[in-house]
Symmetry: C2
Subunit: 246 residues, 2 copies
Amino acid sequence: MGTTQLASVPEPKYQHLKTVIGEALDSDFAVGEILPNERELAARFGVARATLRQALEQLELEGRLQRRRGVGTTVAPPRVGVDVSTGRHAWPGVADEAWQPQGSAADAAPAAVARVLEIGTDEQVHVVRRLRISQGQPVAAELLYVPAGSVPGLSAIDAPAGPARARAVLRELQHLALDGQDRSVELGSARAEDAKELDRLPGAPVLVVTTRYLSAGRPAAVSVATYRADTCRLTFGDSVDLVMAS
Amino acid sequence: MGTTQLASVPEPKYQHLKTVIGEALDSDFAVGEILPNERELAARFGVARATLRQALEQLELEGRLQRRRGVGTTVAPPRVGVDVSTGRHAWPGVADEAWQPQGSAADAAPAAVARVLEIGTDEQVHVVRRLRISQGQPVAAELLYVPAGSVPGLSAIDAPAGPARARAVLRELQHLALDGQDRSVELGSARAEDAKELDRLPGAPVLVVTTRYLSAGRPAAVSVATYRADTCRLTFGDSVDLVMAS
DNA sequence: TAGTGGTCTAGACCACCGG
DNA sequence: CGGTGGTCTAGACCACTAC
């Protein structure tokens, strides 16, 4: 039969779709514009909706699309550059316009946190919850863990578990000398609680920034900040205007 | 009718699965151990394979699982801490044990790169390709773009487009004074070319680290490094042993 | 060749948003 | 309420790996 092999390496359909749609986004659509719905698009490309969705998922992962249930799929604006360089964080500030204290409570340290803080799992930690707002949109949810033993003044705090209490804990932190800090970034998926505040579905991809604050040679606090991976670009230098298409 | 609302917020099945399997990984499996295959697992949990896969996908995204076609699904080791702090990078080194030069070629600058380098789209750039190895595994693929105008000596390089040429370009770079650099991290998906070198499928999630090197107040080079998001944790401090379960 | 994960289909129903 | 994206099913076939 001698069938000539036309496509020697048949690229998956969803990957080809991704390329085609991606190019269409560049040329035929404006930021914020609504795409045809998924059933319509799938029919137009002659594929099943699941296949079409696989392509859209990746484009959303890359920050090129934004999908909202009950609304539709829109063309996403370029990712927001969010400064996470040290110095700005220094100590977590009390009066930081970008970070909005949500509340605080005392609890036993989760195992993973206890390990990083080099304390026992049963030791008490103050947990401060903050939300980072950038350009009117929530971009990150943070949990700051401060061991009760880190700062003496902490035990005297008696504000109810709200923003006021959170601010009080942050204020106490300033009394400590900050030797240094180290930081790591990794990919994660949003816990239900964080997803809600970030206006995403649970499991949405997030960049987890873990910062350990050192005082007197020992970890004095740990911050776990989860940034929306779809809309954020973490920047570490002085140029927030650095833009790259992935 | 007064129907009592039993499950007010019915959690999606795949999310519950993820929790159940995740807990099983902690208690019943050792690192490297092979899980039952997907059809078996789906049957065991009484769900369709697609649903089971949705749970496995997220666990893989979080670095808890590793799936390889034709082989199976294994329990992943904790993520590797990869140091990307400034200073170690300084200039991209010629003799850096972690970074392995692959090759180099001259070409017109891609649009996105030209924008960051503040040059014209038609200007020539030297593209150096490197691979970062950590603990025997490739963890990152890098493209380093150096405008032909940045370093005079570049035009004299006549080595064939291989590792030797790459080293020559890197060597020339050392002649420039390095004023500073800025960096950003964002989520992306692996291009086919990078995926191959990272031993992943195209579209796999990666952390894209873009570094701009400044010399004489102008961008002298740009590096775009794509790190495997499933196996890597990018670290910026001096403590590589910082481990957090997401 | 047997068994694995990867892709794809053609449906169905659900949760959510807006008018 | 109608329309959107999100979840789920029960299949099928393909690409790859290891034996």
